[in-house]
Subunit: 330 residues, 2 copies
């Protein structure tokens, strides 16, 4: 039995600033952007795409960092590991994360590529199509792992996006090993459909061997098990993972824990403006619930409430008081 | 009679990136921030205040730049003069302004202070309290004036905020002289109550001698003429300025041109979220109308529609298609 952890949730992911702008669908075609997915781009492409972008809003992002900000907003004790550069955008990222009460002390990168940025084109249907220049964030490696911090976190939560870079991938597996040695839980989000396709074998190996808590959306789960039948995918994941939460957009979500299965409805939203961060904030609600040993249905409800907050405005960080909208008083 | 101008409106102002966050009123007291005003701060204070700030959103701002972005959104041919640094935030500022179709080619500052930023604390009553670190923007001077551009702009629009720095003040007066020599119009916004108090004599001299079109809110106009009676202030400004537009928040606005006076109602808004940029966007609508020789009442209506768009969301740049919401088809 592990000691009481200092942190409820530690996130590990790409430290990214989001650049968000509304576009028409024709813009995606003109720029060869695959709708509703995330594409990695190099610095040159990042510059030319930014030049073509309409006026934008910059907000701190990064999938796992969004989750950490959300969990902190609910009152969880949180920390984050990720790499920014020593530049304006790196300061913005660090400030916004620390201002949520999360502990973030990875030293910024000097003299290398700049802080990662994600150009997010939001179409009128509220779908976001992301082009990500990883910059400094992809230089996160084993040396940036804070072993004591990982060992002192009840749950270490990692984003699948990191699997696109070998150096980060190694860090990722090492983090899971440290957490396991300390008797802590590990969590993973699959992050992206194409990410799952590119790294299916590695993901399955990781999930089966190192992960206690799995997050995925429906399409990612189907891709992971190469099936078009949702129930088949659920049967598979039930064997591979002790706990899994699957989001299904307006159909809500399904939480699985051993033989137990709970279906959660999506929370009503007046106008869906931008789905950026919906999955990240859903995970925040569920992870908070798990850290407080709340029932499965309550974990799912918290995830749904946070997801509903985030899709009603631009940006992947909450604007409302999350404890208030969830009715958390303790 | 001057030749047909290449630009409808040229803006001159502080090139600033806005850092916007919601706060409670108690935060203003704790940080000694004067509510609903703009305070200039130095770099050290900017850093300590930013450290205390909640998570924020970065958007391109600057009063005159917001106006230029709005006028461009209506279809005006626009340009801008202002100084950014050669850093991330400077690139963000330049990108967002150019993406509105505005021409902006002042070279960024190398090796000096960073791009200006304005920390905007938005209280639940939607009032914004601004703390501005002027950085590179205050180094804008006579040498940065593009004389050909000023001479080729139907209206050169200047923000009163610049009056807080002598170097920029000189540039400002020189710009007005260039415009006048080319037979063009000049416009000024008073910008800020304390700015008016600090520079009343200079402002009156400028308005009486160099300005054709004046923008102010009610409080600024009262401060300019040191009266508590609105009609007295209007009588005064009618003598000093050929054209004046005075905004009065939810009471709408008053436009004065010679003996002519038009009262414009405020446009209805469901939820006022953040008044940042309301005056800037109002000026954009009026300037567009003036550049197209539209009737006074139509100029005021365009201003009101743009102001209503901007206060319904965070940030001082429009999210809607401004031509659509104004019903402009030509």
């Amino acid at each position: 039995m592990a000691d009481l952890a200092k942190y409820d949730v530690l996130g590990i992911g790409n430290a990214i600033v989001d650049v968000i702008a509304p576009v028409e669908d024709v813009f995606l075609n003109q720029q060869n952007i695959t709708k509703a997915s995330m594409t990695l781009i190099d610095e040159g492409r990042a510059q030319s795409l930014y030049d073509a972008f309409p006026p934008a809003q910059e907000t701190s992002g990064g999938s796992a960092a969004n989750t950490i900000a959300g969990a902190a907003g609910l009152g969880a004790r949180t920390a984050y590991l990720g790499k920014v550069a020593n530049d304006d955008l790196g300061q913005v990222f660090a400030h916004d994360l620390r201002a949520t009460s999360a502990v973030f002390k990875v030293p910024p990168l000097d003299g290398g590529p700049g802080t990662a940025r994600c150009l997010i084109a939001v179409t009128p249907d509220a779908q976001r199509s992301m082009s990500t220049y990883l910059g400094a964030s992809s230089l996160f490696g084993v040396k940036d792992l804070d072993e004591a911090m990982i060992a002192d976190s009840a749950i270490t939560y990692m984003e699948g996006y990191l699997f696109d870079k070998d150096e980060a991938k190694h860090a990722f597996i090492r983090a899971a090993e440290i957490a396991a040695s300390a008797g802590r839980k590990t969590a993973l989000t699959l992050s992206d459909l194409f990410c799952v396709d590119r790294h299916r074998t590695s993901f399955l190996h990781l999930i089966q061997g190192h992960i206690d808590i799995l997050f995925a959306n429906e399409a990612e789960l189907l891709a992971l098990y190469q099936t078009s039948d949702f129930d088949t995918a659920l049967d598979n994941v039930r064997k591979d993972s002790a706990f899994c939460a699957v989001t299904r957009s307006e159909k809500g979500s399904v939480l699985i824990k051993g033989a137990e299965t709970v279906h959660i409805n999506a929370e009503p939203v007046n106008t869906v403006l931008d789905t950026t961060g919906a999955g990240d904030l859903y995970a925040a609600g569920v992870l908070y619930g798990l850290s407080k040993d709340l029932p499965l249905a309550e974990c799912g409800r918290l995830g749904s409430v946070l997801a509903a907050e985030i899709i009603a405005h631009y940006g992947a960080r909450a604007e409302a008081n999350l404890r208030d909208i969830c009715g958390i008083t303790r």
